[in-house]
Symmetry: C2
Subunit: 263 residues, 2 copies
DNA sequence: TTTCTTGTTTGGTCCGACCAAGCAATGGGC
DNA sequence: GCCCATTGCTTGGTCGGACCAAACAAGAAA
């Protein structure tokens, strides 16, 4: 039971962390809700009896988490206001950690597959006509005969986001968007290095239409399975192959597979 | 195509955001890796020609994201060091946004189910003997006849985390831990208000053992399905029922179901 | 009534100063 | 010659004060 990792921390709290804790208390307790305004920074200085720098550092953290939105001036929209923009913060966080190779691409793909399978199942159950129309519009853009790779990739993303939004689960949607954004660059690189672009394009078109049809038909089981295998196949055929081809050094394979498991 | 939301932003960059961008550049470009040290704050002031306050605000954000770890002194471990502790930052972010009801509990449950299904499938494919032993140990703790609810919940969490770790996917593991931590309080509350604790406890025990056995047998399909239905059933039977019972006001049902969908 | 000016509030930025935690080099005592 | 306390330097942590610019509100001037 004496796990060494459990005895490590002992974090001496810095002032800004205490400020953060005070504000979080009120959020967790429901006393601060979306739209509410925090007292002005100078007032918080007096209330909490710390320097403005400490206050501001805490506010910066909340802002980065998408919980706060600060504006100057005196209007009704000014000051530090509790907001709700989780996807930006999530995207940023995941981007950095993926870049630090904490999360190998393989893991990200797996997470995407899991999340989007869930989205597709939910979407099949409760997508509205408007939702289906939005998906169909994305498909139409990708079906343009001479569509460019950028255009295609752009609407590919929109298509998957549309599915997530149709599912109505905001957490899953935001996670999906964040994960997708986080690997956007990698995806585009793979897309450009593609040898047989036309074949892959046609394959993706067919898969997308199949997914759309399953959702439209309300077949959750099939929609989920199709999305899952769609993501797995694409990353297996395209990303892995392309990233490991000519310039495929050991460094890149590490990006894919991650460091060996150690215990 | 003229979506109104796309014309809103125009974010005037603040100094700390520029500093943040510079540091992120280097991380994204792979020039800063885990373990590397940033220049001292006072040096960054000269390099970037901004105030120390701006530097520090940027560093605070990175720290909150689990990308940085700062220590005073001159030793080899001192200064601002690139680190990799994503789950803490994720947990914090999710906790706040769940509290702000951006993410209704229902959505969180769905995300958990999706992620842990994926974990279980991976675990069934590649769990080692050591992994299985750790799971079994958690089960043993939960099987103690007079186990307390706290003990049970504690090892319940460990069991699920053990599965995620056995899956070997760090992103999914960290997301799982973060999501679980974020709803820990809600979970414990539901656990305590439980009417027929013994019946629920026995049901959970049986489900846990079935999951363990499926993973041990290498049956990915079954393991995944069992975990998924396990989570769905528990939250449907316990959390939803309990949280909406006596004190079940409209506010709490909003926490569960979230605000009505508007388009 | 309308328009311009002025003042106030608010976040944004910077500077300079001091503190305490650590480590490293120094030097006396054995 | 070796050990250990002292001293000094580097580093993040904290603070107070000052000034800027954006944004709005109120009052003055047309």
């Amino acid at each position: 039971m004496a796990e060494p990792t459990l005895w490590e921390p002992v974090p001496r709290s810095r002032t800004y962390e205490l400020v953060l804790a005070r504000i979080e208390e009120q959020i967790l307790a429901g006393k601060l809700r979306v739209g509410d305004r925090l007292p002005p920074e100078r007032e918080l200085v007096e209330l909490l009896e710390v320097s403005r720098a400490a206050i501001r550092e805490a506010l910066r953290v909340l802002e980065a988490q998408g919980v706060l939105r600060a504006r100057v001036g005196t209007g009704p929209d000014s000051g530090s206001v509790i907001a709700a923009m989780p996807s930006a913060g999530l995207t940023q966080l995941l981007r950095l950690h993926i870049a630090l190779a904490n999360f190998p691409v393989k893991d990200v793909v797996e997470a995407r597959a899991a999340l989007e399978r869930s989205s597709a199942r939910l979407a099949a159950d409760q997508a509205t006509e408007a939702d289906l129309d939005r998906m169909a519009e994305c498909l139409a853009h990708m079906d343009v005969p001479e569509v460019s790779r950028e255009e295609f990739n752009d609407h590919d993303t929109r298509f998957h986001v549309a599915i997530a939004e149709a599912g109505g689960n905001r957490l899953v949607t935001d996670l999906t968007v964040a994960v997708r954004n986080a690997v956007r660059h990698t995806l585009m690189t793979a897309f450009h290095r593609l040898d047989d672009w036309e074949a892959e394009r046609d394959r993706l078109r067919a898969e997308h239409h199949a997914i759309h049809d399953a959702i439209a038909a309300g077949d959750a089981e099939r929609a989920g399975d199709l999305v899952e295998s769609h993501i797995h196949r694409f990353h297996h055929d395209v990303v892995r192959t392309v990233l490991q081809s000519p310039e495929g050094t050991s460094a890149q394979s590490a990006i894919w597979d991650g460091p060996p498991r150690e215990r």
